[in-house]
Structure formats: C-alpha cells, structure tokens
C-alpha cells in the first residue's frame, strides 16, 4: 500500500510535467504578463529613478525583478492548485478519487508538479531579466532565491487546492483571481516598497504572505530588504505548512 502512494505522488507529478510541456501556449501565456511588466515598467521608470525607501545605488529594474518573479510564482502556483477544478470539470477527478491511494498522496503529487512548473517559469523570468541588465549579487543569493521561490510556491499551491476543494465549478475562478490573487500581488510590494503605503493599507501588506516572499527574494538577489531575512523565511514556512495542511484536509473531505 505504501509503494502505491509513492507511485501516486510520482504519477501526479509526471502528469503535470507532460501537460506542461505539451501546452506551449500556457507557458508562453503565463510568461508574457511578467515579461511585459518587466519591459515596460523597467524601461518606463528609467535607471536613476528612485522610489522613496529604495536604496540610492539601485535601479528600479533591480527592485522590480524579484517582485515580478514573486508574482510569476504566485500566479502559476495558485493556478496549479486550482487546476483541481478543471479536473473536476472534465471528470478526471473521479478517476483519482476512486483509486486505492491516500488523498494526501494525490495532494503531494500535485504540489510536486506545481512547484516544478512554477520554478521553471520563475527561473525563465530571472534569465530574461539578466538580458535586461539585472545582476545577481552572489551564487549563495541565487540558491537562497530558489528556496524562497520554493516556499512561495508550496504555500500558494496549497492555497489553490484549498479554494478548489470548496468550489463547486469553474465559474467562480475569475472572481477568485480578481478579489484574492490580484490584491495579494498588488499589496506584496512587488512594484514599490510597502513602507510607502499609508499605515492602514500597510496592515494588509503585512498579512499578505507574498510580501515576505518578494522581500526575501529581494534580500537574496539584490541584498536589499525591509524585514530581516529570517522573518521572511519563517513567515513563508508557516504559511506553506498551514496551506498544505488545509489543502490536504479540504481535498480529502471533497465528494465528487
């Protein structure tokens, strides 16, 4: 029975990889938005332009890149989690639900698949940004950045699965995107330091897990951050842990 569950994790991951590699349009589509943000915001706010709260020597693009990577991970991961809904819509979920494997194994497999695809896309954005003049400070910083991407991804896949397990069909999807995911992105300080926000709004930023993700990525990649890096790591770790538990719990309770 145990090997069954390991196989289940592996095959859920493999399925995600195959689907990912076959849907070129999905990959290109999900990279276009962050790419345009980088291109137009990066070029629009020319070098030398400084927001209050930014280090003097940094260009705006240096500030922007970690935020955009965080955004890419946010969107691809949440989508990977919410894709449970698509499986439900196209009936495939039933095939998974009647199999003699633990539901937690199914969730873990989906998380593994989602992390892989999200990280690939995050790394692609990082590579693109290198061509636009972005510079990574150190190899250690790069490794740390991967850790942050990983943690952001785990949390938001769990979050996506939890939401999908509670939704009846795909019609609520755009609402979720507009009223939950987009605010999470905007409030995270991907575009500007959150310290510039009025204090009542800043409060929302502080409960937004992506704030710590973007800050951690910035700390790793350009060595500039608003919070201690330790706080970023701990917050994301707790968020990821809670979301995986919640996602697994709700998915296990789901009836098809």
């Amino acid at each position: 029975m145990k090997s069954n569950n390991l196989q289940a994790i592996y095959i859920m991951w493999l399925r995600e990889m195959k689907r990912f590699l076959r849907s070129k349009s999905r990959v290109v589509g999900s990279l276009m938005v962050p790419f345009f943000f980088l291109l137009f915001m990066g070029l629009g706010f020319k070098s030398g332009f400084n927001l209050p709260g930014m280090p003097q020597e940094a260009n705006y693009i240096d500030f922007l890149v970690p935020g955009i990577i965080g955004m890419t991970i946010l969107f691809t991961s949440t989508f990977a989690g919410i894709s449970v809904l698509w499986d439900r819509e196209f009936g495939f979920l039933k095939e998974i639900m009647v199999a003699p494997v633990r539901r937690s194994a199914v969730v873990l497999g989906r998380i593994a698949g989602g992390i892989t695809t999200s990280l690939i896309q995050g790394i692609l954005i990082l590579i693109i940004s290198l061509f636009m003049g972005f510079q990574i400070i150190s190899f250690f910083g790069l490794v740390l950045a991967f850790l942050f991407m990983f943690l952001i991804s785990v949390g938001f896949i769990g979050f996506g699965i939890a939401i999908a397990s509670k939704m009846k069909d795909i019609h609520g999807f755009s609402l979720i995107m507009q009223f939950i995911i987009f605010p999470i992105f905007i409030l995270s300080g991907a575009f500007f330091p959150v310290t510039n926000l009025p204090s009542w709004l800043r409060l929302f930023s502080y409960i937004d897990p992506l704030t710590y993700g973007a800050d951690g990525l910035r700390a790793s990649l350009i060595s500039f951050s608003q919070f201690p890096i330790f706080l970023d790591l701990i917050s994301l770790f707790i968020f990821g842990f809670l979301m995986v538990i919640l996602g697994t719990y709700l998915f296990a309770k789901m009836e098809v």
Binding site: R22, A99, P100
Partner: protein, 324 residues
C-alpha cells in the same frame, strides 16, 4: 459468496431520498443491470458501491469487503466507467492507462503486458499513442472500459456505458462488454435506461424507479410475468374503449398510458379477430391503430411502475424545469 451484497441501502440528498431502502445481490461472473429512468437512483447506488458516496443508512459489501470500513480493498477489487468521460484528454490513451496502472500499484512488467491485453480487447492498439482529445466518443468509452480493466478488478461498474453513442457504436460496445465478461470472467454491473441494452446484455435485471427496486429477475422471467402477447391499441375516446376492453374475458391484464391501451393476452394473433367483432358504432369509440408484439422490458417496466420509462423521464424533466 456473492460479489455484491446490498442490504437496506438508503441515501438522502438534502432531504430528498435518492435511494430508498434497496437490497439485492449480484453473483460472481454475472452481468447485472439496473434499469430505470434518469434520476431513479442508479448512479447514486453505483457511487455508493464505489466508495465515492457514503450511504445515509444500510450496508453494502463488494467482494466481501465493507464499503465503509474497507475502502481500499473495495477500490482495489473494482473497476468503474463513469457516465461522463473521466479521461485526461491532454494525455495519450497509453498514458491514461499507465497513470491508472501506477495508481493501482502494478509493477512494470504487469503494466506493460496488461496494457497490451486491454488495448487489444477494445481494439485500440493502433490509436494508443494518440492524444485522447482526438478520440471519438466511442473510442473514449472503449478506452475507459480498457482502463477500468487494467488492474484485474473482480467487478466492473459501467454507468450508462452507451449513453450518447450512435446505434452502431452502441452495438460494438455491447460486443466488447460480452467479450470481456466471458474472457476475463468478470462480474459486471451496469446501469441503463435503454430497454434493448438491458435485454441484450444482462443475465438479471433490477427495475429501479424512485429509488426503489420494483422487480428483479432475468429478462425472460420478467417478460414471462406478463406472459403471452401484448396488443397495443390506439382508440378514441380512450376512456370508452378502456371500459369495453376491461370486460373482455380473454384479457389477462390491461394498462393505459399516453394514447395507448395495452392488453396482455394469450395467443394474440387469435384475439385480433375477436377485437374486430366489437361493434364500434354500438360502443361509441373508434380504433385507430392495433399493434401485436411479444412483451418487451418496456412493457414490464410499464407493468411494475404504471408508466413507460419515457413518460417517467418526461415528467421528471418537467419537474426540474419547475424547480428552476
């Protein structure tokens, strides 16, 4: 030991009773059919047996395993083909089978060998590496049947296996079902609202209506209950005709539905001339059409539920409309 044992099974959805205290058994190696209109509780029963839904009350065993206490054992012993497609259409046929085989923990050699066998059984060897999105409806259904068989289940559930397929494809699927029942010695439980399907495939049929089993026997025995022949008459005004026919001594049973009056008689060919002797002028009704046939499961359904399956479905879709 029977492969399926159901005792006093009840399932409620928000106060609506979908399955109302049903009990039956399915023997090893049998093709058993649940025949009934949409919304009769067939799919709910199947889902409960497949551990996808919990019963409100009652108990059920599949291959001797309790559906509540031994879920994994039940899941390992059954294969299931759902009413709506449940394939990943971005994967190829072979990949769908491989996915399934791994979920059920088959080793590599068994996976490979079994894949060949089931693909051969449903005649999809040459399409195995095509993405499922390019399959026709019939091919998808065949692939699902093949997938349901991958892990050597003892029992296979087919929920409306030919729903939405054209008549020719339907007959092909029927042949596959018969073939695998014989070749694999597998117990098959299917649901259907097609009379011909139940008649052609099933060794025993349970007629289900409003969540209750109205009758359960072999198709032949069910038809023998009615016995003899059915004479179906269209007459106006129907009421007057019904009153007259009711009094005929050679009519064993009489039922009316929509525009027809059905008479159960022995040796129907001899009775039609007797019918013609009734003087319509005197009795004030007019016969428009007369039809003589052997009883079908449709007649059996009518006999036990007082309605034809089509009428039941029509009235239910009316109800749904009002509810919306």
């Amino acid at each position: 030991m029977p492969d399926i044992e159901i005792k006093n099974l009840i399932k409620d959805f928000n106060g609506l009773r979908a399955v109302n205290n049903i009990s039956f058994e399915v023997k090893e190696g049998e093709i058993f059919g649940l025949l009934g209109p949409n919304g009769a509780g067939k799919t709910t029963t199947i889902k409960i047996l497949a551990t996808l839904l919990k019963p409100t009350k009652g108990e059920a065993k599949v291959c001797g395993f309790d559906i509540l206490k031994q879920k994994d054992e039940v899941r390992n012993s059954i294969g299931i083909v759902f009413q709506e497609p449940a394939l990943d259409n971005r994967l190829t046929g072979r990949e769908n089978l491989d996915f399934h085989a791994r979920l059920y923990g088959l080793s590599k050699e068994i996976r490979q060998r079994r894949m060949k066998e089931v693909l051969n059984l449903v005649g999809l060897e040459d399409k195995a590496d095509v993405l499922v999105i390019n399959y026709s409806g019939g091919m998808q259904r065949r692939l699902e049947i093949a997938r349901g068989l991958m892990h050597y289940p003892k029992v296979l559930f087919l929920d409306e296996p030919t729903l939405g397929l054209d008549p020719q494809t339907r007959h092909h699927i029927w042949d596959y079902i018969l073939k695998l029942n014989q070749k694999e010695r597998i117990t098959i439980i299917l649901t259907t609202h097609y009379m011909e399907e139940a008649d052609y495939l099933c060794q025993r049929v349970g007629i289900i209506d409003f969540g209750k089993i109205a009758a359960l026997d072999t198709p032949q025995n069910l038809k023998n209950i009615l016995g003899g022949d059915v004479i179906s008459i269209e007459a106006v005004p129907q009421k007057a005709a019904f009153e007259i026919f009711k009094k005929l001594p050679w009519v064993k049973r009489i039922k009316q539905y929509s525009n027809f009056i059905n008479l159960n008689v022995e040796r129907g060919e001899n009775k039609i001339p007797l019918l013609m002797k009734i003087d319509p002028k005197e009795e004030a009704f007019k016969v428009k059409t007369v039809n003589l046939r052997k009883p079908t499961l449709e007649d059996v359904f009518l006999h036990f539920t007082g309605k034809t399956i089509r009428e039941t479905e029509a009235s239910q879709s009316e109800k749904n409309k009002i509810r919306r």
